[in-house]
């Protein structure tokens, strides 16, 4: 097998020698060190194979033996090369292809992240990029264990991360950290009012209430005491916990100018495309980035070949162009807009209120329509205040306790 391969690499020729005594040719070639193989003989001719470079030496021997020599077949790599000599571009292309494949196989083509959704993929990719793992990074420079360890330290919401490099593809598996429920705070505390109001309801809980339904209270007033006194003397400190509902008043206001300059989206949109290969990127569209106020949407599209993602992607940047437009509003239009804005504000500011009634008042001042909403809310005004052993109660405690 190896011999056949070597003969193919060096090239061979099949010849036929016709004449009276072809055996003489065989003896002459034997004596002169020319190797023949695959010899076949019939009545008047001899067929054999010889190495291509030695064929020319057979002619004088054939002449001496009075034989007619004829080459019937040529084969092997040298003849194939000479056949395609004029198509040298094929060879150059083949060599380039092999070289590029070898070079590119040393870099990362793609990173697949399998996340449960609770971890922001963009943040994770940026973090990995800062640690040296990104599309286009050299595989030999990557230390997987170091990256896994550092990523777990830098990103608090990751419990564990596993990075697997298969060829040029990186697969990342990770699991989010699940925070345990904070144990119930058992610090001795009172309950105080978070705002002024009239008590409408007291929910059952720990501690001794010090107000009654219908009583008016002010911000910071103690509503439930955490100090329980025994009839026989002595006292005990408890962690107070109760819901105290009170009727409170709140005011929210918004202002809408009757005349202003706003940014309005233009009907004309443009885009820019670029082709990226690993870390190199070049534009493939004639349009550039437009001037003025623009918003950009970026879309990346990876090119696939037989199910394999290549390190080539097309990035399309869609630009929405905005222009400054002077807007004039009537009072009715301004009022409608103000109501919308106020409604949005109510959603965020009054989310703790159990129920509320509202009343709007409007006024126009300095070219603006000011809409003010007055709200009568029923909400839980109880907040925790820690009882310090040395007896000091500070504003810090009130603010800390307001985060329930």
């Amino acid at each position: 097998m190896i011999l056949r391969l070597l003969r193919w690499f060096s090239g061979y020729a099949k010849f036929t020698a016709k004449g009276k005594f072809p055996e003489r040719l065989l003896n002459m070639t034997m004596k002169n060190g020319i190797q023949l193989w695959g010899m076949r003989s019939d009545s008047s001719s001899l067929t054999a194979y010889v190495a291509a470079r030695e064929y020319k030496f057979l002619r004088p021997f054939a002449k001496r033996c009075e034989l007619t020599l004829k080459c019937t077949k040529k084969g092997g790599l040298p003849f194939i090369i000479s056949q395609y000599k004029i198509r040298s571009g094929l060879l150059v292309g083949a060599i380039l292809y092999i070289a590029i494949s070898i070079i590119l196989s040393g870099y990362i083509w793609n990173i697949n992240i399998n996340t449960s959704g609770s971890i922001n993929e963009y943040e994770l990719r940026e973090e990995l990029r800062s640690l040296g793992l990104y599309e286009g990074a050299k595989i030999s420079d990557i230390n997987i264990q170091d990256i896994e360890q550092q990523a777990t330290i830098d990103m608090d919401n990751i419990a564990w991360i596993s990075i697997n490099i298969t060829g040029t593809l990186v697969n990342i598996e990770l699991s989010p950290r699940i925070d345990k429920k904070a144990p119930t705070d058992k610090t001795p505390s009172n309950i105080i009012a978070s705002s002024d109001g009239v008590i409408t309801g007291i929910g059952a809980g720990e501690g001794k209430p010090s107000v009654k339904i219908g009583e008016a209270v002010v911000k910071g007033q103690m509503l439930v005491s955490g100090i329980l006194e025994y009839d026989v003397g002595g006292f005990k400190l408890k962690h107070s916990d109760a819901k105290i509902y009170a009727q409170t008043k709140k005011t929210l206001s918004v202002s809408v100018p009757l005349e202003e300059t706003v940014l309005k989206k233009n009907d004309f949109n443009t885009y820019k495309k670029s082709l990226s290969l690993l870390w190199v990127s070049f534009p493939i569209s004639i349009y550039g980035t437009p001037d003025g106020y623009i918003s950009t949407q970026v879309k990346n599209e990876n090119i696939e070949l037989f199910g394999t993602q290549l390190p080539i992607k097309i990035t399309t940047e869609n630009y929405n162009i905005y222009e400054n437009i002077k807007v004039k509003r009537t009072e009715k239009q301004a009022r409608t807009l103000a109501e919308k804005q106020l409604s949005l504000l109510e959603t965020f500011s009054l989310n703790n209120a159990k129920s509320y009634t509202k009343k709007y008042t409007q006024k126009i001042s300095n070219g603006k329509l000011i809409l003010t909403g007055t709200y009568t809310c029923t909400e839980d005004i109880a907040i925790q205040q820690e009882i310090k052993i040395d007896g000091s109660i500070t504003e810090e405690n009130i603010n800390k306790s307001s985060e329930k």
């Binding site: 072809p22 055996e23 065989l26 003896n27 034997m30 004596k31 060190g33 190797q35 023949l36 193989w37 695959g38 010899m39 076949r40 003989s41 019939d42 009545s43 001899l46």
Partner: protein, 93 residues
């Protein structure tokens, strides 16, 4: 009167030690595998070559391989391999 050389002395010498005759003196060495292949070492030329008979010159002797479909698979200056269906091997002279 010169003594004639005893031609039979050398075979006796080697035979006495139990050594084969051709071990020192160069002579043809033929290995035959079944009736399909013959490897000849010590050949000096081809005298006849066709499908039914291949005659090889080995210096002092001529060896004729007879059969059918005979051909020389490969050869060098002093050895060759004959393949085919060998029906007989004749030592001439």
């Amino acid at each position: 009167m010169k003594k004639k050389k005893n031609d039979k002395s050398k075979p006796r010498l080697f035979g006495g030690f139990g050594l084969p005759y051709g071990i020192v003196k160069s002579s043809v060495h033929i290995e035959i595998n079944s009736n399909r292949e013959a490897i000849i070492d010590g050949s000096s030329g081809i005298l006849e070559y066709n499908e039914c008979c291949i005659k090889i010159s080995t210096g002092k002797m001529i060896v004729a391989f007879k059969g059918r479909g005979l051909f020389i698979r490969c050869m060098s200056d002093s050895s060759m391999v004959i393949e085919g269906y060998i029906s007989s091997v004749e030592y001439v002279r």
